[in-house]
């Protein structure tokens, strides 16, 4: 059987601000025997809350251009960003169901000699791991179970919402992201505001960072009320930026100081697959660069070579 491969859609935040996620994803997919193919010349997805709010047809056309890169090679796309997933998945879905939009998009794409065909699927990493690779296969690779690490989750919004359209998970009682994270051996810690938005989306972070941080702060306080956690895991780099860098920004805007290590699910898996944090650069998260400190290795139960 030919090796399963995905086109790897990087987006903006992963490759340009949190490259440790890109690096970790490459390690994890390689371990799982799944190919990641470069999507040469892929652009911004473009950001769904931003471009989708400005001009739907332009948003769909730029997203469709990205989709055509994968269509040409005939492999599905996978991405590790809730926002990129939202743009690519939604645009793909909407153009498959709305002929008027599809025609408008293709008229625009004709300008650059491209055509949206609707021949491929888009998967979030979470989705690819759960339904295309399977929990059993992931468990086979856990060589360093993160025993005793208390793990809070931030699933974020756009990979499972809107639920009626995406049909991925029950967004009110989701279990898929948790199931994947629990394979790492870390202990799941529930908190009341687990499912609220990080605050960054919908062009809000761009417009009013303080307002966006209020959402984040609410989540942190809710987590502390529940007894706190050693790490927060998310499937999205924009949420990761908001929760990670957000701690530095919250300190500036509010009189509050938090110290949470925030990991992308791929970083969590890379660690529990036995990779060392410096193999993918866990310590390069912007929080640590700004605060000139390091992940709390002791809480993570990992001895880092620094």
């Amino acid at each position: 059987m030919a090796k399963k491969s995905f086109y790897h859609f990087l987006g903006c935040i992963i490759p340009h601000r949190y490259p440790s996620i890109e690096s970790a994803a490459k390690l994890v997919f390689k371990d799982l025997g799944v190919g990641l193919l470069d999507m040469e010349g892929a652009s911004c997805c473009p950001a769904p809350g931003v471009f989708g709010s400005f001009d739907r047809v332009t948003w769909a056309t730029i997203a469709a251009r990205n989709l055509t890169i994968a269509e040409a090679g005939g492999h599905p796309i996978t991405t590790g960003c809730n926002g990129c997933f939202a743009s690519l998945w939604d645009a793909n879905h909407e153009m498959k169901h709305d002929d008027e939009l599809r025609d408008a998009v293709n008229e625009n794409l004709a300008e650059i000699d491209r055509e949206f065909k609707g021949s491929i699927e888009v998967w979030h990493y979470v989705d690819a791991l759960y339904s295309q690779i399977g929990l059993e296969k992931i468990r086979e690779h856990i060589t360093r179970p993160l025993k005793g690490v208390r793990m809070a989750l931030h699933p974020g919004c756009h990979w499972m919402r809107p639920k009626q359209i995406k049909k991925k998970d029950d967004s009110e009682r989701p279990h898929i992201f948790r199931d994947i994270c629990e394979t790492s051996g870390a202990e799941y810690v529930p908190y009341k505001d687990e499912l609220i938005c990080c605050g960054a989306g919908g062009a809000v972070r761009t417009a009013d960072v303080k307002l966006a941080l209020e959402f984040t702060k609410q989540k942190f306080d809710s987590l502390l009320e529940a007894g706190g956690a050693d790490i927060i895991v998310t499937p999205c780099p924009f949420c990761e930026l908001q929760l990670d860098m957000g701690q530095v920004e919250i300190q500036k805007h509010f009189e509050a100081e938090y110290h949470f290590d925030v990991l992308h699910v791929m970083e969590l898996l890379a660690l529990s697959f036995g990779h060392e944090p410096e193999e993918f650069g866990l310590a390069t998260h912007l929080q640590y660069m700004q605060r000139k400190n390091q992940p709390n290795w002791e809480r993570l139960g990992i001895e880092a070579k620094t």
């Binding site: 652009s43 473009p46 709010s53 739907r56 251009r65 625009n108 919908g202 307002l211």
Partner: protein, 199 residues
């Protein structure tokens, strides 16, 4: 009195928020349907399903901390109060978390309605400067968050990756294609116009 108040402060705030002495009431004789039609065409097809139950606002994390009221905006839109909707700064407080969409009993898809109203707002020249700058970045670099400094390339190298990823940051022809798309859809003009207005 139809209701009792616990404190004078809250009574006062109710008065300020509702008093026609502060702000004259909007006269709604015959609702103007054209705005609703515009919204339906731009991605909010179910807006007319709304029966004003308030589930959306009750679920809304943006509404919990600001004066953003998604139910209110939908009602205003249904009454044809276009200018009220598109000029309100709160329109941009929605993080598009889709909680309201997942809970609305009438399948209104409020998030998409808000995005559609934002589309109309932008088409009529209401665009915040930071948003316009983000849009410009995509036309300039192919990415809303570009690889715009040596530091970011160093960061990539540090984690064991090639300095420039194989996306539009590496391929100028990709950026050229994005520009052509923006020119074709008129999106480049939307951003330019705003620039002139700001000056």
């Amino acid at each position: 009195m139809y209701f009792s108040m616990n404190s004078t402060t809250s009574l006062l705030s109710v008065l300020i928020l509702t008093s026609t002495e502060e702000k004259s009431a909007i006269i709604i004789d015959t609702p103007d349907d054209s705005f609703v039609q515009m919204i339906k065409k731009t991605g909010g097809p179910n807006i007319q399903n709304c029966y004003q139950c308030g589930t959306c606002s009750g679920s809304c994390p943006a509404g919990a901390r600001t004066n953003y009221l998604v139910r209110g905006i939908i009602r205003k839109a249904l009454l044809g109060l276009k200018e009220q909707c598109i000029s309100s700064p709160e329109l941009w407080y929605c993080t598009t978390c889709y909680t309201c969409t997942d809970r609305c009993p009438q399948d209104v898809m409020p998030t998409d309605v808000i995005k559609a109203i934002r589309n109309v707002a932008v088409a009529e020249g209401y665009m915040l400067v930071p948003h316009q700058k983000t849009a410009l970045k995509v036309l300039e670099a192919g990415h809303a968050v570009p690889l715009d400094s040596e530091n970011w390339q160093n960061l990539r190298e540090k984690v064991g990756l090639e300095r420039v990823p194989p996306n539009a940051s590496r391929y100028p022809e990709a950026i050229e294609e994005i520009r052509k798309i923006a020119k074709k859809t008129g999106f480049d003009k939307l951003i330019e116009e705003k620039e002139e207005k700001e000056e």
